[in-house]
Symmetry: none
Subunit: 222 residues, 4 copies
Amino acid sequence: MIPDSLIDGYKSFLGDRFARERLRYETLAETGQSPEILVIGCCDSRVSPEVIFDAGPGELFVVRNVANIVPPYETSGQFHGTSAAIEFAVEALKVRHVVVMGHANCGGIRSFAQKSAPLSSGDFIGRWMSIIAPAADTLEDPGEVPSEDYMARLNLAAVEQSLANLMTFGSVRRRVNAGEMELHGAYFGVATGHLLVRDPATHRFEPVVTDVGVPPSLFRSY
Amino acid sequence: MIPDSLIDGYKSFLGDRFARERLRYETLAETGQSPEILVIGCCDSRVSPEVIFDAGPGELFVVRNVANIVPPYETSGQFHGTSAAIEFAVEALKVRHVVVMGHANCGGIRSFAQKSAPLSSGDFIGRWMSIIAPAADTLEDPGEVPSEDYMARLNLAAVEQSLANLMTFGSVRRRVNAGEMELHGAYFGVATGHLLVRDPATHRFEPVVTDVGVPPSLFRSY
Amino acid sequence: MIPDSLIDGYKSFLGDRFARERLRYETLAETGQSPEILVIGCCDSRVSPEVIFDAGPGELFVVRNVANIVPPYETSGQFHGTSAAIEFAVEALKVRHVVVMGHANCGGIRSFAQKSAPLSSGDFIGRWMSIIAPAADTLEDPGEVPSEDYMARLNLAAVEQSLANLMTFGSVRRRVNAGEMELHGAYFGVATGHLLVRDPATHRFEPVVTDVGVPPSLFRSY
Amino acid sequence: MIPDSLIDGYKSFLGDRFARERLRYETLAETGQSPEILVIGCCDSRVSPEVIFDAGPGELFVVRNVANIVPPYETSGQFHGTSAAIEFAVEALKVRHVVVMGHANCGGIRSFAQKSAPLSSGDFIGRWMSIIAPAADTLEDPGEVPSEDYMARLNLAAVEQSLANLMTFGSVRRRVNAGEMELHGAYFGVATGHLLVRDPATHRFEPVVTDVGVPPSLFRSY
């Protein structure tokens, strides 16, 4: 049976949020969605984009894969789920913003840094995570046991890689160059709740709010 | 610049939900995630799994792609985002439930039914949606203009297809057959808020709550 | 037998240029090469980088393939000649400049725009030229017979694509972001001898010399 | 900014060579190229084919990759730059001669002989140079530190390998066997300026000019 927690959660949603936003859901069903923002986030259970950005229905078009990765534009192979979602968001929905959002403690990034053994003979995770290999090339060798600081920087370097990969899509490049769409990098610290946003000029990730009340040592920029 | 709506939403999250659940986030960062449920949902901006199931941090491992599709196990090509996420959830996180959740008014399903022209030369959406072709084969020919009823049934048939594709993964099959993991199908009606859940015995999708107060005509089971 | 034209040309080189630059060749053989510039040019017989830039031995590290293309960083398949050359130039030679140089009347670009039939069952040209498909997506549909103006713009859009693809190489990104290396786009007009160089701020290609004495109509910027 | 040396070189080309050969460039732009010779050369900055063969515009169709390698005909993977160039030269331009030109002091060949560590995680150079492994198998084991004589012989063996690989292309084999096209091997000594050409009967590389005035010891045949 489907878990009770899902049924209970759904009833809570029905009685509370859906009851309050009912008209919005009805209108969105009738008119179709027209979100302005595409978020490429991680599958991780701690980093729901709708929760972190307190977003309502119709606001965020959300792709979630392991480690919030954008592959380069390449058409070998048959099924490209993330590239399909980007194509749909950019060409059909014409979103105005794309946010690649990394987060601390990402298991996919960690499995790459630790050179984990394949989980199955298909080695889907190993091949998927290999997309960030050129990002790791931009950092120093982490040694046997990657430090937490290294892990955070690898996460941000992977966001940079995904932003570069996005620009290999002709549709993305055309709309960015025409000023019709912007690309953003972000990073959520699960433990501290801090959100870093990439400065497009300096490529540094800086906190958007500086008075969250967390120890400064956990709140650095990169 | 990153949209103000995201910054404002984040501040609201920080002051409200994160403030209330801070300990949980801290603990989850320390101990790592151990969700019991994998949800495979659509990118659509109206169907956030965390919202619909009123789920807290750590509860749902969420893959989102266009039309909540699971491809069959196949290893040609290099990058398989959804298969990587399934492999990670099943083999590393050892989730106990997998929910494939379709929804009404899905643009990806519609583009397939209407045989839309490619959005770009890569035709990522076209190739991605071709995964549901065998699902369409289980239904009658929709004619030139597919009816809304046909669209709903195609959506559910696509969920069935994804459930069958899940069973092509050896790791999924092994854990399901050992009673360690269950597969579920679900369907969310955006306009009405109803949630249908697939009965594993009859393969019919039935409402989990029957007194939402929506017109019965919008609330049928399939 | 090897063509006489090559033997005659070699004798002319020996008696003239090699005689004059002998010391330089000897020194370069002893110390090894240390070019500061990587040029990615076309195989076309009319666009030798050493001729157009009047470059001496040791100055230009030159990759030449059909249509001066950089593929995205992707490691499926076994042999990546251009990616290998980029890796060598960037990581071993540490060049300071990379120039992607397109040219007018490119047969590879034309075969793509005209959707030419495969030349052999391997369809190497068709698959190679497919790298510029996302560049074509940034332009309007050329119709049945692409205009010369369209061809020129497709050529420049393909240079843009290659510049974006270069940024998917971690080593390129690291050195560019550190200010250690610059990427440039250029375009040579075979008939007029004009050279356009891409302005990194506006992404427009502008003539570097404006008094060549060619009709202005043949000398526009893009 | 694009390096001044390129701008200065281009101005020199414009005022000198282009001024003298202007009609030829104009004609070549109008009629298209029809080179009779394909040269497969190295990216090395010291071995420009147009310089060494004193060739004018329209004469040489030039592929340049690391170590002037022809891969075998194989179609796994998506992008085959060198095979695409060969296909274009042989099938579309119908060249009458193909010259594979090696050279002394080749960094790619050296990195193979010394089993250098990968330059990046993609290891593009390592995989590319693995094409000459069967060439190395035709020579004795070089020991820890390969001698210069071994390096020269490995270079020539790699040219032999590329000539054999060329014959794995059906189109090449057909035209060679029909007497419509010839394959040649050549080798340029950077320090001495000597050019060796392969004798198709003996497979030995012999100097084409014997009175260059270099010490005989640097001028042996192989």
